[in-house]
C-alpha cells in the first residue's frame, strides 16, 4: 500500500521453534518458521486456529504466553536478538518500540482505569514527553482515527464505549509511543462487518501516516488483502507459502491456500415453497423493560433454508428464542405447520417441542462435558421417541453415520472431539428428535473456514435427504450465499426486508442492506480503497 517502502530490514525471525504445554505434555506450536519485515511494511499472517499465527506474532516481540517457550531461533529486531534478552530488557522494547493490538478490545482494556490513562501509559514510561503533551497527542490520534468526541472520549471507562471504538482506541494506544512495529492480532474478528470497515480504514490510514511497520494476523484472507503488502500463510506451525498480496490473491500456489476461501465458492441454487412451515406474525419481545423486537413478521417455507442476517444487537438470536419459546413474546403469534404455538415453553406439548430443535453457536458450551456422545445423542431419542436399549444404540449409530462419523465415537467425551466434530454431534443431537424445523444459531462462526465448509455441506445434504427446514442465523454473508434459499435482513429489532436470495443480494437495496452487503470484504486488495472512495463521494 505504501509508496515509501524502504528495503531497510527491521525484523528478521529465523527458524523459530516454540513449544506449548497442555494436556500434561509439550506440543510443537511452531516448527521452524522464518519471517522478514522491512521498515514501513505490512505483513499479513493468516491461517486457521491452531496454525500458530498468534504465537508467531507474539514471538516477534520476544514474548511467549505462559506455558509456552521458545526452543530455538533468532528474533533480530533492529539488530538485537530479542530471544536472548532478559525480561527486564525486553520490557524497555515492549509497548514503546513494538506495540500490540489484541483481538478483543473489550477484554484487553483494564476496566478499572480511564481510557486516556491507558492510552498514554506506555509512552509515559519513556519519560520523553510530559503527560499533557502526550494527552494532546492522544487526542490528535483519536481524531485521526475518527473517534467521536475525541476531546473527551479518553475520560471514559472502557465499558462506556462501543467495541469498534475500543478497537480504535487500542490502535491509538499502540501508536502513542510511535513504535517502529505494531502487531495487530485479529483486531477486527470480534466486530460486525459494518464496524469492521471503519476500523480497518482507520488502522490503515494511521499506519500509513506514521510509516509504521506492522504484522497483521487474521484468519480472513479478504481482510488481510486490504491491509498487507505481503501475505504469509501458516498451517500446523509451518509456512505454507508467502507472496505479494496481489500475486497471492490472483494466483495462490498451494491447494491449502485456495481452500481458505472455499466457503465463498459454495453455491446453492435457490428454491422456494408457498407452503409455510412456520410463520411469525407481528412479534414484539423484550428483555425486562428493554424492547428488542418490534413488529417482526417472517415466513419460513417448508423444506427450505431461510437465513436471518444482521449485526449483533439486531434481534436475530432473540427471534430464535421467541420461536423456541425460551422468551415468550409480548405481542403477535407463531403459526407452526398451520397451528398456533403457545408463547411459553411450558405450555407446548412434547410433540411440538420435538418438532423444533436448535443448534447453538458454541458447541463447547452446548454439551454436557461429563456425558459421552452416546448419552448426548441417545437422550433425545429416548425422550421424544421412547426408544430404549439396543434400539436406541442402533439409532445413535445411524445418526453418527449420517453426520459422517462412526460408532468409535460412542464413548467419547466432548473434550475428546475437535471443534468441527463437536458441532456435528450437536447436529446429530438435533436430528435425534426427528424435527421438522432446525434453528441454526451462528453454527459455523466459531469454526475454521475448511471445517465450516464441511458443516455447511452436511447441513445441505441432510436437508436433501430428510426434507428438514432450516432457519439459519448468521452475520456472515458468505455463509448466507452458500446455504440459503431466502434471506431476512434485520436491523435494530426490525425486519428490513425478506425475499429470495437473488432478490436480496442484487440491487436495488434498502439503505441498510446496501451498507451491510457493501461492508463484506472482497478478495480484492483495492476493495477497501474503492469502497471508501465510493462512500465519501
Amino acid at each position: 500500500m505504501t509508496s515509501n517502502k524502504s528495503k531497510e530490514l527491521l525484523l528478521e525471525m529465523k527458524n523459530i521453534h516454540i513449544d506449548g504445554f497442555s494436556d500434561e505434555r509439550w506440543h510443537k506450536i511452531l516448527k521452524g518458521v522464518d519471517l522478514t519485515l522491512h521498515r514501513g511494511e505490512i505483513l499479513g499472517l493468516i491461517g486457521e486456529s491452531g496454525a500458530g499465527k498468534s504465537t508467531m506474532g507474539k514471538a516477534a516481540m520476544g514474548y511467549t504466553q505462559p506455558g509456552c517457550k521458545i526452543i530455538k531461533g533468532e528474533i533480530n529486531f533492529n539488530g538485537i536478538d530479542l530471544a536472548k534478552l532478559t525480561e527486564f530488557e525486553k520490557r524497555k522494547i515492549w509497548g514503546t518500540k513494538i506495540s500490540y493490538v489484541a483481538q478483543s478490545a473489550a477484554a484487553s482494556f483494564n476496566p478499572a482505569h480511564r481510557l486516556m490513562d491507558q492510552t498514554i501509559s506506555a509512552a509515559n514510561r519513556l519519560k520523553i514527553n510530559p503527560t499533557d503533551v502526550l494527552k494532546k497527542d492522544a487526542v490528535q490520534l483519536y481524531e485521526s482515527l475518527q473517534l467521536p468526541d475525541a476531546e473527551n472520549i479518553g475520560d471514559r471507562y472502557p465499558h462506556q464505549v462501543s467495541g469498534g471504538q475500543l478497537q480504535r482506541i487500542m490502535t491509538a494506544m499502540a501508536m502513542s509511543p510511535r513504535p517502529e512495529l505494531i502487531i495487530f492480532d485479529e483486531p477486527t474478528t470480534a466486530l460486525d462487518v459494518t464496524t469492521q470497515v471503519e476500523v480497518l480504514s482507520a488502522m490503515r490510514s494511521i499506519v500509513d501516516k506514521f510509516n509504521t511497520a506492522a504484522i497483521y494476523i487474521t484468519h480472513d484472507l479478504a481482510v488481510v488483502a486490504q491491509m498487507a503488502d505481503r501475505i504469509k500463510v501458516l498451517r500446523y506451525g509451518e509456512e505454507v507459502e508467502e507472496a505479494e498480496t496481489k500475486d497471492m490473491l490472483s494466483n495462490p500456489k498451494e491447494e491449502y491456500t485456495k481452500s481458505l476461501w472455499s466457503v465463498r465458492s459454495l453455491i446453492k441454487p435457490e428454491e422456494t415453497n408457498s407452503d409455510y412451515m412456520l410463520s411469525i406474525k407481528n412479534i414484539d419481545a423484550a428483555y425486562g423493560s428493554s424492547k428488542v423486537l418490534h413488529n417482526v413478521s417472517i415466513d419460513i417455507p417448508k423444506g427450505k433454508t431461510v437465513a436471518i442476517v444482521g449485526e449483533s444487537g439486531s434481534g436475530k438470536s432473540t427471534t430464535a428464542r421467541v420461536i423456541t419459546g425460551l422468551l415468550p413474546q409480548l405481542k403477535g403469534e407463531i403459526i407452526f405447520d398451520g397451528k398456533k404455538l403457545s408463547p411459553k415453553l411450558e405450555q407446548r406439548s412434547k410433540e411440538e417441542l420435538r418438532r423444533i430443535q436448535i443448534i447453538f453457536q458454541m458447541p463447547d458450551t452446548a454439551m454436557n462435558p461429563r456425558q459421552t456422545v452416546d448419552e448426548i445423542i441417545g437422550r433425545p431419542i429416548e425422550f421424544y421417541q421412547g426408544i430404549k436399549g439396543k434400539g436406541r444404540e442402533k439409532k445413535v449409530i445411524e445418526l453418527l453415520k449420517m453426520i459422517e462419523l462412526d460408532e468409535t465415537f460412542l464413548d467419547r467425551l466432548p473434550s475428546e472431539l475437535s471443534g468441527g466434530q463437536k458441532q456435528r454431534i450437536c447436529i446429530a443431537r438435533a436430528l435425534a428428535a426427528n424435527p421438522d424445523l432446525i434453528i441454526c444459531d451462528e453454527v459455523t462462526s466459531a469454526l475454521d473456514q475448511i471445517v465450516q465448509e464441511g458443516i455447511l455441506k452436511l447441513l445441505q445434504k441432510l436437508q436433501k435427504d430428510l426434507g428438514v427446514t432450516y432457519i439459519f442465523i448468521t452475520h456472515d454473508i458468505a455463509t448466507v450465499k452458500a446455504i440459503s434459499d431466502e434471506i431476512v435482513v434485520m436491523y435494530q429489532g426490525e425486519v428490513v426486508e425478506q425475499g429470495l436470495k437473488s432478490k436480496i443480494l442484487n440491487p436495488p437495496h434498502p439503505d441498510y442492506t446496501e451498507l451491510l452487503l457493501s461492508s463484506v470484504p472482497e478478495m480484492d486488495p483495492d476493495w477497501l480503497t474503492n469502497l471508501l472512495n465510493k462512500r465519501s463521494s
Partner: protein
C-alpha cells in the same frame, strides 16, 4: 436498597434471637430461686420480669424499647429477697458499653495488624507465585486457618507466657489501665485473633489477584512494558478490591465472634465473655442485646464491603 436489605436482615435476626431464647429450657426465675422454690414465688418473680406475658407481646415490647436505645435491665443483681436494700439490677446498656469498648479495642488492634499483613503477604505471594516463599506462606496459612482459636491461644500461652514469659496470660484491664499497658496485656489475644483470620484473608487476596492475572488485560499490560510490580499493583489490585473487601468483612465478623472464645481463654472483660456468662445465668436481656450487636456488626461490615465493591468498580459507579 442494600441498606433496607441490611435492616431486614437485622430484624430477622432479632426475631430468631428472641424466639431461640424463648424456647430454651428453664428460665431465669427457676434458675435464681432454686429447685425448691414455691410455685407462687416463681410466679411472682416471673410477673415482675414480665416473663408471664405471651412471647409475641414480649418481643414487641422489647423491640420497641430497643428502638429507643433501651435494652432493658439485666436480670441478675436484682433484689432477690423481700426487704433487701434497693435494687442492684443494672441497665443492660450500662453493662454492655464498657465491655463493648474493650472488645472493639481488642478486635480493632487485631484487625489493624491482620489486614495490612495479610494484604502484603497475599500480594507478594501472588507476585512470586509458586516460589518457595509462596508455598511456605500458603502452607503455614492453611495450618493457622485450620487450628481452632482456643488451640492457637493455648499455643501462644505456652510459648510466650510459660516457656518465654514475655506477655501475661491474663488480660484483665479496666478503665484505669493506660494505653501502653493495654497493648501489653492484650498482646496474646490480639496475636491469636490476628493469626486465625490472617490465613484466610491472605489466601483469598492471593487467589483474587492470581485469578485476575490470567485476564487478557494483564497480558496487554505486560506487552505494553509494565513491570511485574506495576502489573500487580496498578492493573490487578484495583480489580481485586471487591472480592478482597468481602473476605475482610467476613473475617472481621469472624474475629468478633472468635473473641468470644479468646476472651474466655484470656479472661478479658469483653462482650464475648459477658455473653457467655449471661447465657449461663439465663440473663435474657443481656444475651439478646449481645446477640443483636453481633448480628448488626456482621450486617454493617458486609454493607461496607459492598460499598467498597461499588466504589472500586467503574462499571457500577459510572453507568453507560
Amino acid at each position: 436498597m442494600r441498606l433496607s436489605l441490611g435492616l431486614i436482615t437485622v430484624f430477622a435476626f432479632s426475631v430468631i434471637i428472641f424466639s431461640t431464647f424463648s424456647f430454651l429450657p428453664g428460665d431465669f426465675a427457676t434458675e435464681i430461686l432454686g429447685q425448691s422454690a414455691t410455685k407462687s414465688a416463681v410466679k411472682a418473680l416471673r410477673a415482675e420480669l414480665g416473663l408471664d406475658k405471651p412471647p409475641v407481646t414480649r418481643y414487641f415490647d422489647w423491640l420497641g424499647n430497643v428502638f429507643q436505645g433501651d435494652f432493658g435491665s439485666s436480670f441478675s443483681g436484682r433484689s432477690k429477697v423481700q426487704g433487701d436494700q434497693g435494687d442492684r439490677s443494672r441497665e443492660v446498656v450500662g453493662l454492655i458499653i464498657p465491655r463493648l469498648k474493650n472488645t472493639l479495642f481488642l478486635t480493632g488492634v487485631a484487625a489493624m495488624l491482620a489486614i495490612p499483613l495479610s494484604l502484603i503477604l497475599g500480594i507478594s505471594a501472588a507476585l512470586y507465585r509458586n516460589s518457595y516463599y509462596d508455598r511456605s506462606a500458603t502452607g503455614v496459612s492453611l495450618v493457622t486457618v485450620s487450628s481452632p482459636e482456643f488451640f492457637t491461644a493455648y499455643i501462644f500461652i505456652l510459648l510466650l507466657a510459660t516457656l518465654f514469659p514475655v506477655f501475661p496470660t491474663i488480660s484483665n484491664v479496666d478503665e484505669a489501665t493506660s494505653l501502653a499497658e493495654r497493648f501489653y496485656r492484650t498482646a496474646l489475644p490480639v496475636f491469636t485473633l490476628t493469626l486465625i483470620t490472617m490465613g484466610h484473608m491472605m489466601r483469598m487476596t492471593r487467589s483474587a489477584i492470581i485469578n485476575i492475572l490470567s485476564s487478557e488485560y494483564i497480558e496487554m499490560a505486560k506487552l505494553s512494558g509494565a513491570s511485574r510490580y506495576e502489573v500487580i499493583v496498578k492493573h490487578a489490585l484495583p480489580n481485586a478490591w471487591a472480592p478482597i473487601s468481602q473476605v475482610i468483612a467476613i473475617n472481621l465478623a469472624y474475629m468478633l465472634i472468635g473473641s468470644v472464645v479468646v476472651e474466655y481463654v484470656f479472661n478479658y472483660q469483653g462482650i464475648g465473655r459477658l455473653m457467655v456468662g449471661s447465657v449461663y445465668n439465663r440473663d435474657l436481656p443481656v444475651v439478646q442485646a449481645c446477640a443483636l450487636i453481633f448480628a448488626s456488626t456482621y450486617v454493617i461490615l458486609n454493607l461496607i464491603a459492598d460499598l467498597i465493591g461499588i466504589i472500586s468498580n467503574p462499571r457500577l459507579l459510572y453507568p453507560k
